[in-house]
């Protein structure tokens, strides 16, 4: 069983500030880390390998510095690592990156491709799905867990309040959530990442990578007012009683009221199974 994991080096967004004058991200002096979603992906893949055997290959695209995160993945236990790095790749957006990665991975042996559900620096969540589309394989987003049973993949997706279970025997691509696995610490190993230039990717169309292949234009980045705040927001025009209740409930964006359920383990299970939406989800 061959697993390919796509990873990305990102600035640690906990440390990123926005330059008030230029509205640009200030990246100077910000530490680089492996995208936490991808880190979970590496961990999940290593666990699959440990349980069912096989090989884990990690791939990244980026400048030479990105070798750091590939080395981290090797140290965690990955078998091989490739860094797609070339001057002509500079300025690639998600479309170009997805194309390039699919072109390279298409030339490898694989049964499963693992991507992070998104990267913490751009949060587009597009690269995984683009790779799957280019390779014409099935994709599963928001994946929380994956296991192998015989020839079958068993995939768990988290959707709102529920968990969806899927099964398939095909080659697939999964985009995994950050919480899906806690990554292990690496132990320094002798393996090192291999660099791959544009010439080494078979059948690569140079017009589809780098800025030439990237239709996306970032017009402006700024702090958003609507981004989730750490405080409640209420409707000031409501009567006092309702304003108070709104605050107590946690503001306008209050979560759906969670229903209390009680009883013995058996009766709780019965109750849960009798929820109409549940019966659709569970076998």
């Amino acid at each position: 069983m061959n697993i390919v994991v796509c990873i990305k080096q990102v600035p640690d967004t906990n440390e990123v500030q926005i330059n008030k004058e230029t509205n640009n991200l200030v990246r100077e002096g910000v530490p680089s880390i492996m995208n936490p979603f991808d880190e979970a992906g590496v961990e999940l893949s290593l666990r699959l390998k440990e349980n069912y055997g096989g090989k884990v290959t990690v791939v990244s695209m980026g400048p030479g510095q990105a070798e750091e995160v590939l080395q981290q993945a090797l140290d965690m236990g990955a078998d091989e690592a490739y860094l797609l790095s070339d001057r002509t790749f500079a300025g690639s957006d998600t479309l170009a990156t997805g194309y390039l990665l699919s072109q390279f991975i298409g030339g490898l042996e694989y049964d499963l491709i693992v991507c992070g559900a998104e990267a913490i620096d751009g949060s587009t969540g597009q690269v995984g799905p683009i790779i799957a589309e280019n390779l014409n394989i099935a994709q599963f987003t928001y994946v929380n867990g994956i296991a192998r049973e015989g020839k079958k993949w068993k995939i768990t997706r988290s959707v709102g309040k529920y968990m969806e279970q899927h099964e398939t025997e095909q080659k697939i691509l999964v985009c995994v959530m950050r919480q899906s696995a806690v990554p292990r610490e690496g132990k320094s190993c002798g393996r090192t990442p291999e660099k791959v230039g544009a010439g080494a990717v078979e059948g690569l169309n140079p017009d589809r990578v780098g800025s030439a292949g990237s239709p996306t234009r970032v017009v402006k980045i700024q702090m958003s007012d609507s981004r989730q705040k750490s405080y409640v927001v209420i409707d000031d025009t409501l009567p006092a009683r309702e304003r108070i209740q709104m605050i107590i409930n946690g503001g306008i964006e209050q979560k759906a009221q969670v229903e209390f359920m009680r009883g013995s383990a058996e009766s709780l299970a019965q109750k849960i199974l009798s929820i109409p939406e549940m019966s659709k989800v569970l076998p």
């Binding site: 705040k229 750490s230 405080y231 927001v233 006092a240 605050i247 503001g251 009680r262």
Partner: protein, 656 residues
């Protein structure tokens, strides 16, 4: 998370209000202390030594400024233990306070207030207001102020500001906040005047603005004048944020130097001093709007109890400064601990309001911090190493056992603690299951951390007996064996009837609670009220019978108001002034405690009894009889609430 990598770049950075330099962003918000001396009429409101020490403690702890709440007018007192800012007899102690807090690089801010239509006195001598009308929650009507009286009050404001500026205080703040005269002037609900002080917005603003102008004239252009501003009155028919922001803009125009966010009123006192039901940082949206509205500095307030939260609100630009009141009552060293990165060591305020507000704000204390208001004996630096290290054995891992162990260990004793169950925390493990009471868990979280940090040897799942004591051979034993709930024998019961359990069983075993529940309250505290909250939230059809005149008579007011609201909204039936005489079949006979008239209620499947507990002191007595040096703490002495058992245990720990 010891040695956390959180960087508090904003929170710990200096700031300036006008020319007043602040060393960081922690502001100790004003609060009534109840510590001023009262020796009767005209000899009350005297700023005491205890007052001084209370504020100096917060300065020592690292706050950038302390705000000292004061009354301006000796004829209109919120309470007689409220310092009178305009009284020249307070000059010397005011001077000493400024001198002392300055030693720690901390600023000293006056907050001046005229009680107006609010008071804690019951009944008050006289309440005054712009128009004759009581606060909706108050039974005492007011006198409409005449112009000469308004002039006189203005003079008191000026006198107080000048007096304190003269002895080295750094700024003056006027309260147009949840209580007091000035808010009633700006509030369209309370101000119905027909002269130049009422009617239009400009007219309603006139009196506060005149006072600001008079103070400005007296203190000069450089002395900061701030306003504690109620942004939303949270009274039906009162003003809300849009109006509050308009007032803010007008105050900025008038040359005010900063705004300190505030909300609520006596009619919605659970929004002014919010209990844990109200979410952490609930008022940040108001500060954030103030920040967008004015250019002068804004202080945030309301359930801010953690430096990470504080740093976040600053970086989200909700405010320039972080106001903390109860957090610094609970842990005055919060700023210093933040500076040292010792975040786990911070004791977080649980917003229970029991110590600070529980006795109507008379004599502010703190459930978790025995040092609040007792700084002289329990404050920073008073915990000194024991003369000789002893071997201490603590029996019981509830709150009092943990507290005694903490204090003994900090003093250098070698302490081991035994707990018969698999968890530390005692009854708090049940309390924290009650709706909105999860934060009480902080009490044992903090203590657990202290035990670990100070090397207490903890043994869970171990019941202490004579033999274990002989084996361990401690020098001193602390018995913290708690209490057991008792079902009173005046309740006649037939064996085969309804399931009858005590409230601890109910909180421990959800599955014992049926669909139709009767809760009997003979204590008046959370045992019944909190269990009722839990049971009704679970959806059971609930009747509560209390021997008191109302349910929760010993639960602190902000909490009880919201608790009763929840219970009634969920359809609970509350029967006051009744006791239970008999439980038979599914029927419960109750008896009016005044008339003795009996009534039979029926159809229950569960009865939960919240009556007195009794001390579990068997082992204590046995070991004492055997001649051991043993001291009891907590419920083992007498069943009480957290504040009392923590105090006990602090004393016991210090006494070894």
């Amino acid at each position: 998370m010891e040695g956390t990598n959180q960087k508090f770049t904003k929170l710990l950075s200096p700031f300036k209000i006008g020319k007043m330099e602040l060393k960081n962003r922690f502001i100790f918000l004003p609060h009534l202390t109840g510590y001023a001396i009262d020796e009767g009429w005209m000899d009350c409101g005297l700023f005491s030594e205890r007052n001084i020490q209370h504020y100096v403690e917060r300065a020592k702890g690292g706050a950038a400024a302390v705000t000292v709440s004061q009354n301006v007018d000796p004829h209109s007192m919120m309470s007689d233990e409220y310092p009178v800012g305009s009284d020249p007899r307070n000059r010397e102690n005011f001077r000493r306070l400024a001198e002392e807090v300055h030693k720690y690089g901390c600023r000293c801010i006056t907050q001046l207030n005229h009680g107006g239509h609010n008071t804690l006195k019951n009944p008050p001598q006289i309440l005054v207001a712009p128009s004759q009308m009581p606060e909706p929650s108050c039974h005492f009507n007011t006198k409409e102020l005449e112009k000469e009286e308004m002039e006189q009050i203005k003079d008191y404001y000026v006198k107080a500001a000048v007096l304190q500026q003269g002895v080295g205080w750094d700024a003056v703040e006027l309260k147009i906040a949840h209580d007091g005269l000035l808010r009633t002037f700006i509030s369209p609900l309370f101000n119905k005047r027909e002269d130049e002080y009422g009617g239009s917005f400009e007219n309603m603003m006139r009196y506060p603005l005149e006072i600001i102008e008079a103070i400005r004239k007296a203190v000069g252009p450089d002395y900061p004048i701030g306003i504690r501003l109620c942004v939303d009155e949270f009274i039906e028919g009162g003003y809300s944020m849009e109006y509050g922001l308009k007032v803010a803009r007008r105050l900025e125009e008038a040359g005010v130097d900063y705004l300190s966010t505030d909300a609520g009123s006596f009619s919605s006192f659970y929004m002014e001093i919010p209990p844990a039901v109200v979410p952490l940082g609930f008022a940040l949206y108001m500060s954030a709007e103030l920040k967008k509205t004015v250019d002068i500095p804004v202080i945030a307030f309301g359930r801010i109890n953690d430096p990470v939260q504080a740093e976040m609100l600053l970086s989200e630009n909700c405010a320039d400064l972080v106001g903390m009141c109860r957090q610094l009552i609970c842990d005055p060293e919060t700023p210093n601990k933040t500076m040292r990165g010792e975040l786990d060591d911070i004791r977080h305020c649980i917003a229970c309001n029991e110590g600070c507000l529980g006795n109507d704000g008379i004599d502010v204390e703190c459930v978790q911090n025995p040092g609040a208001g007792r700084e002289k004996y329990f404050g920073i630096g008073t915990l000194t190493p024991a003369e000789a290290g002893k071997k201490v054995l603590v029996i019981g891992g509830g709150i009092s056992g943990m507290k005694a162990a903490e204090i003994a260990a900090k003093r250098g004793h070698s302490v081991s603690l035994y707990e018969q169950s698999d968890k530390l925390g005692g009854q708090v493990l049940l309390i924290e299951k009650m709706p909105y009471r999860a934060e009480v868990g902080e009490v044992y979280r903090y203590l657990k951390y202290q035990l670990k940090r100070h090397g207490v040897d903890i043994h869970l799942n171990t019941r202490v007996d004579r033999q274990l004591v002989e084996q361990e051979a401690p020098d001193v034993i602390i018995a913290a064996t708690g209490s057991v709930p008792v079902i009173p024998d005046y309740i006649k019961m037939d064996e085969a009837g309804i399931r009858v359990i005590d409230c601890r069983q109910a909180m421990r075993h959800l599955e014992l609670i049926g669909q139709k529940v009767l809760i009997f309250d003979d204590i008046g505290y959370y045992q019944a009220g909190g269990t009722a909250d839990y049971v009704t939230a679970l959806g059971a059809d609930t009747t509560i019978v209390t021997t008191s005149n109302f349910l929760g008579c010993d639960i602190e007011g902000t909490n009880n108001t919201l608790l009763l609201k929840r219970l009634y909204e969920r359809g609970a039936e509350i029967i006051a002034s009744h006791t239970i005489s008999e439980i038979k079949g599914d029927k419960v006979t109750i008896r009016n405690v005044y008339s003795q008239a009996e009534r039979v209620l029926g159809g229950y499947d569960t009865v939960i009894i919240a009556a007195q507990s009794s001390s579990d002191n068997q082992l204590y007595k046995e070991l004492k009889a055997a001649g051991k040096d043993i001291r009891a703490v907590g419920d083992c002495v007498a069943p009480r609430a957290i504040e009392q058992v923590i105090f006990d245990a602090e004393l016991a720990g210090r006494g070894i």
